[in-house]
């Protein structure tokens, strides 16, 4: 059995696809050829998981012509997959699946895309609008459509020795407490760091960090992507406490972020992709939601506390606040987030004592 799987483009969605990948590997066994079709950077997310045994890179608008659509079609036709499974929702990938020549094409039908698929599911809508639904569940449903029987895989990731060495270096350079005595933060603005809608004010994160460092003697490390260095450095500077540090001056990679989350005691994050690393490594999590529906990124994680202010205007799912006040995030107080952090730390202490 040879399956080409289009992996979602966003980091968080790629993590949410791992339960479906695990289910497929379970169902088809170690001999099946599961080939991931993905953006080059997404490969770093899945590195080391072993769910896939091949990958085809694809970047339709990138600078490398050999990663464009026609090149991918050619490579797919050479691969001759029995099934193309689409964990992506674009019309383009539907067309690519069709052009691959695979006899079975599985995915979500939206618009005209349904015509291109042989096995399809429809997303729940009301009056033509999509209802909030968990992407992870949707991917799993597609796997179930292919006959997968085990439906309760949690998200799972792995780190490489190199990632761990990079994290060791960071811990050493920033003098962070070891032995899971550090809390990690991520203040992702959302949508690849291109927007501000998901972010919590840096002053609030700084205040929270200082309290954690002072009250609990724990280290705090602010993670960031390449576009978020200034913001991360700002939080650490505002906190002005030796135990509060950031990755702003480090050499960044997705693998490093994974390794940092993996060795942390707790993660506090906005609704960003990397927050799913916490579930994947079974690290307790506090998530601060602003403009987005909790449902879309829900992975049914038992060790998470979700915080969201219910406002009449939200959740609006907009990248920038259309009312210019961004109250969903600015009104979330340090007190209430700290309370959730304390609850998680207390729970952790209880389970460690047991």
């Amino acid at each position: 059995m040879k399956i080409a799987i289009f992996i979602p483009n966003w980091i968080g969605d790629a993590v949410m696809a791992t339960p479906a990948l695990a289910a497929l590997r379970d169902h088809y066994g170690p001999d099946a050829e599961l080939v991931g079709v993905m953006r080059p950077y997404v490969a770093q997310v899945l590195d080391g998981t072993g769910f896939l045994n091949g990958q085809l890179f694809y970047d339709p608008r990138g600078s490398q012509p050999d990663l464009h659509s026609w090149s991918l079609v050619r490579r797919l036709r050479e691969l001759k997959p029995d099934v193309v499974l689409l964990l992506t929702n674009s019309a383009r990938t539907g067309l690519l699946a069709y052009l691959s020549g695979a006899p079975r094409r599985v995915g979500f039908a939206r618009g005209l895309r349904g015509w291109l698929l042989t096995d399809k599911l429809s997303m729940r809508t009301r009056l033509g609008k999509l209802l909030p639904q968990s992407a992870m569940d949707n991917y799993l449903r597609l796997a179930t459509l292919l006959g997968c029987k085990q439906l309760r895989h949690p998200p799972r990731l792995a780190t490489s020795a190199q990632d761990e060495a990079a994290a060791d270096g960071v811990w050493q350079r920033l003098s962070l407490p070891t032995g899971n005595r550090t809390v990690v933060f991520h203040n992702g603005g959302g949508w690849g760091g291109q927007a501000e809608a998901k972010a919590w004010p840096p002053e609030s994160f700084a205040e929270l960090a200082r309290r954690i460092a002072e009250q609990h003697g724990l280290g705090v490390l602010v993670l960031c992507g390449p576009a978020e260095r200034d913001m991360a450095a700002g939080i650490a500077a505002l906190a002005s406490h030796p135990l509060v540090q950031s990755l702003a001056k480090e050499s960044l990679s997705i693998g490093l972020s994974k390794a940092c989350v993996r060795r942390s005691r707790l993660m506090v994050s906005t609704d960003s992709g990397p927050r799913h690393f916490a579930h994947a490594f079974d690290v307790p999590l506090v998530t601060l939601y602003g403009a987005t529906h909790i449902a879309w990124g829900d992975t049914h994680y038992e060790r998470t506390i979700n915080l969201q202010h219910q406002l009449p205007c939200g959740p609006c799912m907009k990248r920038v606040c259309p009312l210019k006040h961004h109250r969903c995030m600015t009104e979330m107080t340090v007190d209430e987030v700290y309370q959730a952090v304390e609850a998680q730390l207390a729970q952790l202490a209880r389970s460690e004592a047991a």
Binding site: D137, R141, L142, T144, K149, L151, H300, E302, A340
Partner: protein
């Protein structure tokens, strides 16, 4: 959209009718929505064979009342397969499931679907079966739901009415004359029809008597279906010397075609009904319906909007209702169209699947710590 779920249906009763069709439609519909669905049923019975034919995963399982072996078998299977939800459908399998899951760690949740409206005994055992023995009870109509709440003391929040969904594309208005030609039925007569298992409480006898009383040579009674009292009904027709005015054609696979050939659908049931699928199917095929307010029928058939409701077990009112519709073509058209609209809006398969999916998801959701603000 809910999580993908592992749903197992159990059915011990070996009949073939609306109940079995609903189970298979639900199973197929939720499979197509990306859930894992299996059916546990004794091997060889009609639903077992039909499930196989439709490609629905089915596991043969011995199910006998007071059968310790059956219970062990089910318990072993459940323990090995760990479904999220068991949806039970008949008395025997409900008992087996309730007892077999009792001692399982993280037991699967039980949703009991009560398909018929027969009163449930109020003895403590039955009470246990419908309250503690099931996490949710699904009825096929609101009336049944109320009965369970009022007479059997099942907590209201645990009983949900989910009317049976009909495939409104398959059961669609057809060309009457073309269907009659294909089926070899006369073009120059008005056809009153019933599609149902031939059982006492479906009221075939009263329908035959009413047609007899009307005594109109231009009206033909068409009886589709087979069942335990088939011979009794045949004898009744012969006894009234109505061989030329009542036609029994037995069980038929192509039901929409037979419905398309009819002018009026009549089912004078007098007991044990939820919302009979045959009635909703007839409405979906754009037929006016004459029936009784038994069970939850009145939820489908709205008196003087989509058809006429008459008192059960009475011939003269039934004959009068038939005459009213036979003599008024416009009224028939009006009821028929309203019936089709109602069937599509309220009794479609997608609406049923949405509700069942929601129930299965809710009942099997692990209790989540609620620390959120």
């Amino acid at each position: 959209m809910t999580r993908p779920l592992h749903i197992v249906h159990t059915e011990a009763s070996c009949g073939w009718g609306g109940q079995e069709i609903r189970i298979l439609n639900e199973a197929a519909g939720l499979l197509a929505r990306g859930h894992r669905v299996e059916l546990l049923t004794p091997g060889g019975i009609p639903i077992f064979e039909e499930a196989r034919r439709r490609g629905i995963p089915v596991v043969p399982m011995k199910m006998g009342r007071r059968s310790l072996k059956g219970m062990r078998g089910m318990r072993r299977w459940l323990n090995a397969n760990r479904p999220d939800v068991l949806n039970t459908h008949s008395s025997t399998d409900s008992w087996l499931a309730a007892v077999a899951t009792r001692l399982l760690p993280n037991r699967p949740r039980i949703v009991r679907t009560r398909h018929i409206s027969a009163a449930i005994s109020r003895d403590p055992l039955s009470r246990w079966l419908y309250s503690r023995g099931a996490d949710r009870v699904v009825t096929t109509g609101e009336r049944l739901r109320q009965t369970l709440i009022n007479d059997n003391g099942v907590p209201a929040e645990r009983v949900i009415s989910v009317p049976t969904g009909v495939d409104t594309q398959l059961f669609a208005p057809g060309d009457r004359d073309a269907s009659r030609r294909r089926l070899g039925l006369p073009l120059d007569k008005s056809i009153v029809g019933i599609v149902s298992t031939v059982r006492t409480w479906k009221g075939h006898r009263y329908l035959i008597d009413a047609i007899h009383q009307l005594n109109r040579p231009d009206v033909l009674l068409l009886i589709v279906g087979h069942g335990p009292i088939h011979d009794v009904v045949t004898a009744h027709i012969a006894g009234l010397n109505m061989g030329d005015r009542a036609l029994m054609v037995g069980q038929q696979l192509n039901v929409p075609e037979w419905l398309a050939a009819m002018d009026i659908f009549a089912m004078p049931s007098y007991a044990n009904e939820g919302v009979p699928q045959a009635i909703v199917q007839a409405m979906s095929c754009r037929l006016p319906v004459i029936s009784t307010p038994i069970g939850a029928i009145a939820e489908a058939v709205v008196h003087e909007q989509t058809g006429l409701l008459v008192p059960p077990r009475e011939v003269p009112p039934l004959a009068a209702a038939l005459a009213t519709l036979l003599d008024n073509w416009e009224l028939r058209q009006q009821y028929a169209q309203a019936g089709r609209d109602r069937a599509v809006a309220k009794f479609g398969i997608e609406a049923m699947l949405d509700k069942m999916e929601q129930i299965f998801d809710e009942v099997s959701r692990p209790a989540v710590r609620s620390l959120a603000a």
